[in-house]
Structure formats: structure tokens, C-alpha cells
């Protein structure tokens, strides 16, 4: 019985889907601009690579791939979506770029997109809705059962800092260096239903928890839960929601490959979970990853100690080697391992351009060129 949530849709195991929220910037000054409804209204696209749709404000656009069994399919879809958007944006004098935050936009200038859901969000959350003009990557991994989805939601929780640090590409907010590697999640934290899924052992427990929140008037649909990792019954997936939108599609693809390999590893080995203990350190570990990226020191509530995120991450890549081979994603994980080893992630890249140019307009211009020029620039 799923009640208000509806039934959990069956998916093939470990199928993948990626959603990316992208920035629409003016080619004149590289500030965010109002362009999403205009772009979609005139878009000549057959949906071959997935969907292109509105997000909460007019300066954002969301792309989502088709469900794919293999990472190569995700790479093809993301490149196709990127090329489609770049072509269409050029006709409208708009540039498009990745990154988790726009470095210097003024949130009060943002316009809410037309649509009942967006209006409801704005009425419910007020200015937080406009401040939610931040850009994330969501990775969906298919689950064959609802119980698997809940189990993975718990199992993935301790790996949230890994995804945050590897994707971190939002060091600037309101024109200043925040000292964070990923400042985007601070905007998400302001929402009352953000954070972690409580320690739940099964789909039935999850349904009971959702009904409880519904009866208390806190949620109306699964979309109201802004958890870091959450089940998505409609798609039959577990959804990882903590990544910044990377600066190029290759990194976005690599993060999806990591999610797939990790889920395969977890389902294959079924490690003992200590969900309640991890719950106690989740916010601290998340802060560490957002603030320090690869240099974060994480708390381990089971061994009651601290350990560097980088060491933990490298150990994880070793553990995932067999699964990556099986999934044909070794090269993608190697690229992420290089990022972890060298510490040359998106935030570092953005700060380097800021140091070179001395202004943030040029940083966004460089980011837009990196996004639009494609694979050669990203390599």
C-alpha cells in the first residue's frame, strides 16, 4: 500500500538518468538573464536526447537525459542536449554555462517562471524561491524494488560528501569568494525540508513517514522533500541531489558513472548500515565537504574518528574498480580519481580564472566557453 505516494514504478536495475540545471547568461555582461520561456517557446527539438524544461526562475533551464542502461548513453544524451541548447541559445544571444551558483547575480532581479507549481513554490517560500536560483545535477539510479530504493537512500547517505567534493563548482556568491568549494547547498539548506532522509528500513516505513508528514501539513508531494538523497517512486529510482552542475558535460557524465558503480557495489556487497549514527554526523560532514572540498575532514560515527575525505575517496575508487569494469565506466571513474588526486575541481578552476582576470564577468565568460566548446575544452 503506497497511499498518497502512488506505486513505486519498476525500473531496470542500475539504469541511469541525469538532470542538469543550467545558467542562462547574457552575452553582453555575462550576468544571468531572463530567457527560459523564450528559449523553450521557440525550441525546434524532437526530444531525441531527453527533455529540456523550465526551472523555478527564468534564468535557469533544466535538461534531463533519457533513461540509459550504460554510461555511454548518458554521455551521448548530455552532449546532444548541450549541442541543441548551444545552437539555439546562439540564435537568441544567450550563453549557457555550468557551475553551481552564478558568481555575481542579484537574486532579487530574478523572475519566477510561469506555471502553477512555480507560483506555489514562490507563494510558499517567498524570497527563498528566488534565492533558489542555484544549479545542481541530479543523478537517478534505477531500482528493481521500492525496498531497494529505500535501502540505497540510506546506504548512499554516507557518500554524500564524496559527490559534493567531486562536483563542487560554486565558490562565488553575490560577487564575493565564499571560501566554500560548494556554496550552492547553503541556498538549499534554507528550505525546511532539506537535509537527510531519516533512518527508515523499508518502503512501508517510508510511506508511513510520508503520510505522517502529509497529515501534519508539511508535505503535499514527494517533490517537497529536498533531501540530499531521496527515492523517486514515479521513476522507480533513487535520486542523488547534492552535486553542483559541473562546468562541462564530461564531469557530469563521470559523476553519473560514479553513482551507478557505487550503487552496484552497495547492492552487491550489502554492507551493514549504521543509518542512525550517520544521521548524527551528516550535517557536519556535508559542511566539511562544501567548505573544504577534497581537503575536508570527515567524521566516522562508527569508528568514532576523523579521516580525510581524499583518502576515503581514493579507497572508494579502489573498491569500485570491479564494478566500473562491469559497467564499462572505468575511464570515467579514472577521470574523477584524477580530480580527487590533483584537487583540480571546478571551484579551483573558477578561482584560477578569477585570479587571472580580476573580475567575475570574465570568469563566467570562461565558464560559458568551457561549457559550449564541448569535449576538447573539458579535457
Amino acid at each position: 500500500m503506497s497511499g498518497r505516494l502512488g506505486d513505486f514504478t519498476h525500473s531496470e536495475a542500475l539504469t541511469l538518468g541525469v538532470e542538469l540545471e543550467l545558467q542562462l547568461v547574457s552575452r553582453r555582461d555575462y550576468d544571468l538573464t531572463r530567457g527560459a520561456t523564450d528559449l523553450l517557446g521557440a525550441l525546434d527539438y524532437d526530444g531525441h536526447f531527453g527533455e529540456i524544461k523550465l526551472e523555478i526562475t527564468e534564468s535557469m533551464i533544466e535538461v534531463s537525459t533519457m533513461p540509459q542502461a550504460r554510461i555511454a548513453g548518458i554521455a551521448t544524451d548530455l552532449r546532444g542536449l548541450r549541442d541543441t541548447l548551444v545552437r539555439h541559445c546562439a540564435k537568441n544571444n544567450i550563453a549557457i554555462c555550468g557551475g553551481g551558483t552564478h558568481p555575481f547575480h542579484h537574486w532579487a532581479d530574478r523572475r519566477i517562471c510561469p506555471g502553477e507549481r512555480f507560483d506555489q513554490i514562490y507563494q510558499r517560500y517567498g524570497y527563498l524561491a528566488k534565492q533558489f536560483t542555484v544549479f545542481g545535477q541530479h543523478v537517478h539510479v534505477g531500482c528493481t524494488s521500492a525496498d531497494d530504493a529505500i535501502w540505497l537512500t540510506q546506504a548512499l547517505a554516507e557518500h554524500v560528501p564524496t559527490f559534493i567534493a567531486l562536483s563542487a563548482a560554486s565558490p562565488f556568491v553575490d560577487g564575493v569568494d565564499t571560501f566554500f568549494q560548494s556554496a550552492r547547498l547553503n541556498a538549499v539548506s534554507a528550505f525546511p525540508l532539506s537535509g537527510q532522509c531519516p533512518p527508515l528500513g523499508s518502503w512501508l516505513e517510508f510511506v508511513a513517514h510520508f503520510d505522517f508528514l502529509y497529515d501534519c501539513g508539511i508535505v503535499r508531494s514527494i517533490k517537497d522533500l529536498y533531501w540530499d538523497v531521496r527515492p523517486k517512486p514515479e521513476y522507480g529510482t533513487v535520486e542523488i541531489r547534492v552535486c553542483d552542475t559541473p562546468l562541462d558535460v564530461n564531469t557530469a557524465t563521470a559523476l553519473a558513472a560514479l553513482a551507478q558503480a557505487l550503487c552496484r557495489y552497495l547492492l552487491r556487497t550489502r554492507p551493514l548500515l549504521h543509518a542512525e549514527r550517520w544521521q548524527h554526523v551528516a550535517r557536519y560532514n556535508k559542511f566539511q565537504a562544501c567548505r573544504y572540498g577534497m581537503e575536508a575532514m570527515l567524521s566516522d560515527p562508527v569508528r568514532r574518528c576523523q579521516e580525510p575525505l581524499r583518502e576515503r575517496m581514493l579507497a572508494l575508487f579502489d573498491a569500485l574498480a570491479e564494478d566500473a569494469r562491469e559497467l564499462d565506466s572505468t575511464a570515467w571513474l579514472d577521470a574523477l580519481r584524477a580530480v580527487a588526486t590533483e584537487g583540480e575541481g571546478g571551484a579551483v578552476w573558477l578561482r584560477a580564472w578569477q585570479a587571472a582576470h580580476g573580475n567575475l564577468n570574465d570568469v563566467v565568460r570562461e565558464a560559458a566557453e568551457r561549457w559550449m566548446q564541448g569535449d576538447a575544452a573539458a579535457a
Binding site: R27, D29, A42, K91, N92, D109, Q123
Partner: protein, 439 residues
Amino acid sequence: MVGAALSLPMAGALDNLQRLLQLPRRFWEQAQEELFFLPPFPEQIDSLALFSLLLVSGLLIGESLHVRLRWPRLIGYVLAGTLFGPSLLGWISIEALGQVRPIADAALGLLLLEAGRRLDLRWLASNPALLRGALADIVLSFFFIYFFATAVVGMVPAWAAATAAVTMASAPAVVLLTVEEAKAQGQVTERIILYASLGSAASFVLFAVVLGVVHTELSHDWLNAVVHPLWVVAGGGLIAWLVSRFALAVAGRLPKRSLAQVFILVASALFAVGLARMLAVPVFLTLFLMGVLLAFRDQQQVLKYTELPEVHWLLAIILFVVIGATLPWREFTWLTGLYALGLLGARALAKVAALYWSGGELAPAKRLLVGVGIQPLSATAVFMAYEVAGLYPAVSRTALLLPLFAAAIMEIAGPALCRLALVRAGETDGARTETGGKQ
């Protein structure tokens, strides 16, 4: 030039003013016999005092219309100029208009500099529909107005061509200020700015050609017919080239987006305005070209992100108050008014049809809105009309009135139409009802 062209002062109003001043003048002159430090009784208002009075009067009317009726502020500034200018109350005399002309030139120059900087040739190259639309707008607008002026008004071809060249383009200054005021963003907004800039560029080129035609028609002076257009174009181009090079070279040594860069941009623009005035080259042409060159040559994005300071609004108020005061309402006749309306109708039809039929990815309804948004006809037209009229004042007065009345009507209607298009396109701030705060 403006003062010279308006040769009909408000004699009655001035007489009244003189009568009012008789008593204070007598007291002043008596006091002077005792108080030796007193200067002679001030016969005319100081430029700075006049500047601030124009500012306050424009602001009061502009703000009150904007707050009460949501009209664009520009309309209020023009109405203030019309009300206090020589045509109605006469509080702004023709001499006073001449005094503030440098400020009006500076304001127009800065706005056209910005219009030139916004002319994005890269966008044109990546979207053929835009080029198609711009060409259609330029060609249809010119010929519709030309045929109206010859067939309906009965103008000679040279003056009909001059009228068409002067009135065919949209007013980038009005468009930019209306867009800024409405905080408009979107594809309709961007296209309105682009078409207004492109139309102005074409209009300036045609204007130079027309100068030659007018010389040929009216004086059969072939030397001037050839050299004057060349002087205007080459002079404007040379000043624009030199000053833009200077601005980029100096600004390149300063931090990007710094206040110092803003000052360099403004100072360079004012320098170009001064040079243009010294060499009798049209300010609007020179500064527009300078803006285009600044954008085109700025490969290192030295000044790309440097914005004009808010003070350009102060100058814009003066500009539109002066334009309002300059419009020759005293010479209004119903026939000229009807002709002006007819000209505007032909022009509107040309612009809307051009944009509608040019195609492109923008929906037809939005293309129509772009056509409506580029209707303003303003400052540059008035100034161009006076430039042409200044050549042969005796001959050109009648021909001058048609474009001036067309401009006068559009001074009021233009900003409103532009704003209407932006609002209807849903691109202004608050165009959609955003009602936060309910559970």
C-alpha cells in the same frame, strides 16, 4: 543651432517677465549705489541654475506621471519642456536653450554611445533572421515614408528623402531609457534594442547622403555636395576611431569595472562630443560610431562590462526637457498635424510589416511586439532635422515641420508604445503577478 532655428520667441511672455522684474531691478540698482560689492542686476539666469531648474521641473512632471498613471518618465520630461518652453509659458527662452545645448549634446552622445556598444554584430552573424528583419525595417520604413512625403504631402524628392532619412529610424535613446526604466529582459527587449541601433546606423548613413542631395538640389554646389557628406562621415569616423583607441588604451591600464574606468569612459565620450562640436560633425553620429568601435575593438573585454553611471539619467532628463522645449508647437497647423500622423502611420505599418514578415524563431505575436517597440522617434530625428535645416534655413522651414511634428507626436506616444510592447511581452519587472506571502 537649435536656438537659431527657432526664430519665433515668445515676445508676450518675455514682456510679462520684464514687467515682473522691474520692481526688483529698481531696488537692486538703488542698493548698488550704497553696496559697491553688488554685481550688475543679473540679466539672464546662470547656466547651473537653469540646469537644476530644468532638472527639477522634468523630474516633478515625469515622476508624477509615472507614479499616478504608470507612464514612462520620458513623457513627463518632454511635457515639462513643452510646457515651460518658448511655445507655451516661455519660461525657458531660446537663449537659455542655447545655453544648455552642450548638456543636451552630452546626454544624447552618452546614450548613443551606449546604443553603439549594444550593437552586437556577433548575434547578427549567428541569426540570419535578424539581418533580414533589420534590412526589411530599413528599406520599408524609408520607402513608405518617402512615398508618403512625395505622393501625399507633395514634397520634392530631395526633401522627401531627407524626411525619410530623418524619421525612418527608431530612437535608441528612448528605447534604452524605457528598457532600463521597466527593467525589461528577454528576446523582445533584445531585438528592440538591436533593431533600434541598426535602424539608427542606416539612418545616419542615409542622412550623410541626403546632405549631399540637399546641397545639389538647393545650391547646385557640387563641391559641398560631395565634401560635406564625406566631412560628416569621415570626421565622425575619425573622431570615433581616435577617441575609442584612446579610451581602450587608458582603460586597459586600470582595473576592470573600476570607478576609474567609468570615469575614463564618460570623459572619453565627452571629449568626442567636444571634438564633434568643434568640427561641426553631428554628435549623434560620432558617438554612435565610437560605441560601435569600442564594442568591436575591445577584444580583451577592457570596457565591455563597464556601465554608464546613474548620472546619465540626470543628463537624459535635461535632454528630453530641451527636446520638449525645442518642438515648434506654435507653428502647429491641423494640416501639418494630419500629415505628421499620416507619416507616422506609414512608418508604423512599414516597421510592423517588416518585423512580422522577416520570420525567425520568435513567435509572430512577439515579432509584432518588436515592431511596436521600435516605434519611438525622437532625439536624433529632431537633431538631424535641425542639422539639415541649418544648411538652408530660409528654404527648409516648411519641410522641417513635418519631421518635427512627427517627432513631437512620437515624443509622447513613442515611450508609451515601447513600454506597452515590453509589458505585453511579459519582459518587464513585475509584468507577471508575483504574489508571495500566502500559505
